[in-house]
Amino acid sequence: MQKETFKHSLGRISELTKKIKRPARIMEVCGTHTVTVCRSGLRSLLPENLKLLSGPGCPVCVTPSDYIDRAILLSRQQGVIIATFGDLLRVPGSLGTLELAKAQGARINVVYSALDALETSAEKRDKKVAFLGVGFETTAPGIAWTVKTAAEKGISNFSVLGALKTMPYAMAALLNAGDVGIDGFICPGHVSAIIGTRPYEFICRQYRLPCVIAGFEPFDMVLAIEMLLDQIISGSAEVRNEYHRSVSEEGNPKARRLMEDVFEPVDAEWRGLGIVPKSGLKLKKEYRNYDAMVCFPSSDIPAAVNRTECLCGEVLRGRIAPPECPLYGKECKPARPVGACMVSSEGACAAYFKYCRNGGVEK
């Protein structure tokens, strides 16, 4: 019976796509959704006329290379310990990678949580611990809690080098660029667990595009695609929620309050999208002592040198599929990545390379 339900949805997707009478283009914003699509072989089950585009929802991928350079320079300072999520370690900046800096002797700890970085700060009061705060709304509340706890406990040798970003304005920036045809968004599930369904409503209103929040199992995604196609055909543009297990209309108000207490919106640079107004989160003035940009002022960040052949920016905007990049699978592979999208486990290039390389249907 389980398979029948899945098949039923796939059958409806096929029927609905035929009714549209042109290629339907759906963007899965979140990198984890891209991984689900690639790993499950979902593309091979979908009709030819339905295109799934990968979007900018991989935090490591959209972090610009000058951030990596700043982190590398910081790691070279005496008495500094860098704490970072593992995904960031191999992202190339103009000065190399954090992995290389670690091999050269820098003290760089891979952590599972910002909490681990705070514990290191408490244990090693003679060191300065800088946590690389990269992530979206899913990650931001935990970092907010950590900063607040550091302040309450008087732990002053902890700081955050921030690159936190928020999704809805970036989705709008993508549409404003006007060079990617999108008929609907599959919205990120765990970002939405925090922000709820309402922050996407302006996209539906202003751009007349349907949005469906989806979970991360293939079944969730098939149902979400079916729900989007229903809206595309009926001409409606609403936020609908497939991922009820984790997402409610109001999201997680407690987590959002904490974010609002600690952070304020700021313009942020996204690889591929440029500066997107109010799409970043910056520590508020009362927490500036925990801002690594304040604790470690640095004016000698070299101008970022990005490889012009690397098309990560185009991949992140959904303009091309990873195999269309001239470096993909040749110079740029997971073992020696040129671009960030080949590094992160959530990166579209890494997901394609791992799961779709041989015989994968790349639409």
Binding site: T138, V191, G215, E217, R240, H244, E346
Partner: protein
């Protein structure tokens, strides 16, 4: 990086709890959710519980990961009804 996984709370001490994921126990901060209790299933991201799951949510998840979806058409109908009521 926005990966999150469901886990069961085994014990709680202030803001912190021990949560179990497939036999692995890990420290988890539970101050982002309301009234965490031992035995609750929570969704964990980077060491923080971000959402409490109901028993129905856990059952649905188990059905989805074991197969390809909720067991019967009637379940799907119920799910879609829920979706409509929230959209």
């Amino acid at each position: 990086m926005c990966l999150a996984i469901p886990a069961k709370i085994i014990s709680i001490n202030g803001d912190e709890a021990i949560a179990e994921i497939q036999g692995v126990r890990r420290k988890t901060v539970v101050s982002l959710i309301n009234e965490p209790r031992v035995g609750d299933y929570v969704l964990i991201h980077a060491g923080f519980a971000i959402k409490k799951w109901s028993e129905e949510d856990v059952r649905e998840f188990n059905e989805i990961v074991k197969g390809t979806g909720p067991k019967a058409e009637s379940n799907k109908g119920a799910k879609q009804e829920k979706i409509r009521s929230h959209s």
